[in-house]
Amino acid sequence: MKDPLGALLRRLDALVTPIENAFNLAAGVLIFALMALGVLQIVLRTIFAAPLLGYIDIVELSMVGFAVLAIAFVQRVGGHVRMELLVQKLHGRPLWFLETLGSGLAIFVVSVLIPYSYDHFYRAFEYGDSTIDLELATWPAKLVVPVALTLLLVRLGIQFLGYVRLLIDPTLPQLAIPEMKRPEEVAADEIRLAGVTDDAKPRTK
């Protein structure tokens, strides 16, 4: 059976996935660095009585890196919270119709957010907005938002097409959409994460 859309989606997915993974890993590394910075701050303040100047500035500037950057990654793996009560009971076209609708709405709102969050960045850039203590420029942090949202938009577009493809032909294999998990499967993930099963291999997702 011919499936040109499927072939395209597979290619797009392979293109975006490594960027998303890199963003997520960067967010994780940043959290780890936040831990190190916090320890450093405590040591400097309590032992040397010389706290880091602008510690809060640095934390707040870097937060965008783990608060927004990896949003597309989480969208890909279906990590954003939703209520699955109804969709879990549906199959075939009705399910794919709802999913298409949902990603269509997402595309709408994210497309609105991108230019306006870019404006937010641009104002900071133009007027030289800076932090309180260290007077660091805030625009690079604000620029992260439209960048991350643009990647999210690409991911949402891929998922939208993935759902449309299944809406047209529900017999096709699922592709480029997050898998829906039953409670047993969510439980299995939790168990693996807690290190209870002994396969700490790098994950392929």
Partner: protein
């Protein structure tokens, strides 16, 4: 403005409809929030508000404690603390009727002090406690019930991500909320313990006392669980005295757990495995972190719209105007949470509902800190009730993969887990009633806190 009010009501209806048909909550909230602002204030105002919120509502210093608490939790599972804690608990408490079950409750509570994740705590204790309990002749139902229920202690006993989120949403002190969770956690432990002892005295076949440890053996078991006390000491000390911010305490706590984790990997000569696990732990931390932050800004956009529509105020006025005793309204709110929590992630449920529910609760004269603890306890109860009851699925899932000991099969079927959890569900309801009647249990510790 009657018009704005009805647009607000329509928006709430639309949000509920979108969430029910499975639209991701952050999208549903952002779409309705943006469209609502557009209708009320025009496209440009709506866009300007929407464009700033994802940045301005997420990059605030108090929120920076969240990823650190989450990181502590993920690292703690690999730091080798659970086995030692359980061993210490059974040597000290094994002699009471149902001693191993009581030990599981205490060890879970101890581990909760370094972990904020209920389901993962249940997973770890399933592996540690199931083989021991079943080979000692404990009933499968009691075993499963105590492990699933024990896991829920993680959300109440600090560090708890969900309490931080509540504090930030309702603009209360993060430190106070975290401290407030401690005593209710202890009350839960005692109610569970009384329940187990009562059940095992009444029906000794459920689980025997296991005695025969000398004092020397008891004290010998303590050093293995010291790291837990260090982490607890750091976090409570910092919060109580106020010498460090929650973020700094979280960073230090995470660093201690990380050091233990490295030490253990080095001891087991397993540094490669450690590398994989560390990558897993930090990428999962990042994933959970962004899920929470995204939800926060999505819902804030919706909340901004509600604010323009004046809905939270109207709702609060309406609730206060009801000719009903506040306690009855509170019970209704809690029951609504119990039902909602069966179908939705606890954090999602809180972020979504609090903007409307919270002002009403405060208008009724309830304490903000107290309500946070009650709501989190309700969310925890939902982790052990069908149909989702994730903790129960976790216990059944782990037990299926355990090796049989002798001729004893370790697998506990899901039905048995759900039956076993029954008495603990009753105990949890009892805890909520106790906290309703004696709010001082929640408020005493935070009120002692240094200003």
């Amino acid at each position: 403005m009657v018009d704005a009010f009805w647009i607000g009501i329509f928006g709430v209806g639309m949000l509920i409809a979108l969430v029910v048909v499975g639209v991701r909550v952050y999208i549903a909230a952002a779409v309705v929030g943006f469209l609502g602002l557009f209708v009320l204030e025009g496209w440009d105002v709506a866009g300007a508000i929407a464009g700033t919120i994802p940045h301005s509502k997420t990059v605030t210093y108090p929120l920076s404690v969240l990823p650190l608490f989450i990181l502590i939790g993920f690292l703690a599972f690999h730091a080798g603390l659970t086995g030692k804690l359980f061993e210490a608990a059974r040597r000290w408490l094994g002699w009471v009727p149902g001693g191993l079950a009581v030990s599981t409750v205490f060890a879970s509570a101890g581990f909760a002090a370094v972990s904020g994740a209920s389901t993962a705590t249940s997973a770890v204790f399933s592996r540690v406690a199931i083989p021991d309990m079943l080979t000692n002749g404990y009933s499968k139902r009691l075993t499963a019930g105590v492990i699933a229920a024990g896991g829920t202690l993680a959300s109440l006993i600090p560090p708890s991500a969900i309490l931080v989120i509540y504090a930030i949403l309702v603009e209360q002190s993060v430190g106070k909320l975290l401290l407030a969770g401690l005593l209710p956690g202890v009350v839960s432990v005692f109610i569970y313990t009384a329940l187990i002892i009562g059940m095992c005295v009444w029906r000794p076949e459920l689980g025997q006392a296991s005695s025969g440890f000398t004092w020397r053996e008891r004290f010998a078991s303590l050093p293995g669980s010291f790291p837990i006390f260090i982490v607890v000491g750091i976090i409570f000390g910092a919060l109580y005295t106020g010498v460090a911010t929650p973020t700094e305490a979280g960073a230090l706590g995470a660093a201690v757990v990380f050091a233990l984790y490295v030490y253990r990997a080095w001891q087991q000569r397993d540094l490669k495995q450690m590398g994989f696990r560390l990558k897993d732990a930090i990428t999962e931390t990042a994933k959970l972190t962004i899920m929470i932050f995204t939800l926060i800004w999505g819902v804030f956009l919706f909340v901004r719209f509600l604010g323009f529509a004046g809905l939270p105020n109207e709702f609060a006025n309406w609730v206060v105007g009801l000719d009903l005793p506040p306690i009855l309204i509170m019970v209704c709110i809690l029951l609504a949470y119990a039902v909602l929590g069966m179908f939705m992630d606890a954090i999602g449920m809180l972020i979504l509902t609090l903007p409307v529910v919270y002002p009403a609760v405060i208008a009724l004269g309830y304490d903000p800190i107290w309500f946070g603890i009650i709501v989190v306890k309700m969310a925890e109860i939902c982790l052990i009730t069908p149909p989702i009851g994730l903790n129960c699925f976790v216990v059944a899932g782990v037990s299926r993969d355990l090796q049989p000991v002798g001729d004893r099969d370790m697998a506990i079927p899901l039905q048995d887990v759900f039956r076993g959890i029954g008495p603990f569900f009753v105990a949890d309801v009892l805890t909520v009633i106790v906290l309703l009647l004696l709010p001082e249990i929640v408020l005493w510790l935070p009120n002692q806190m240094a200003q």
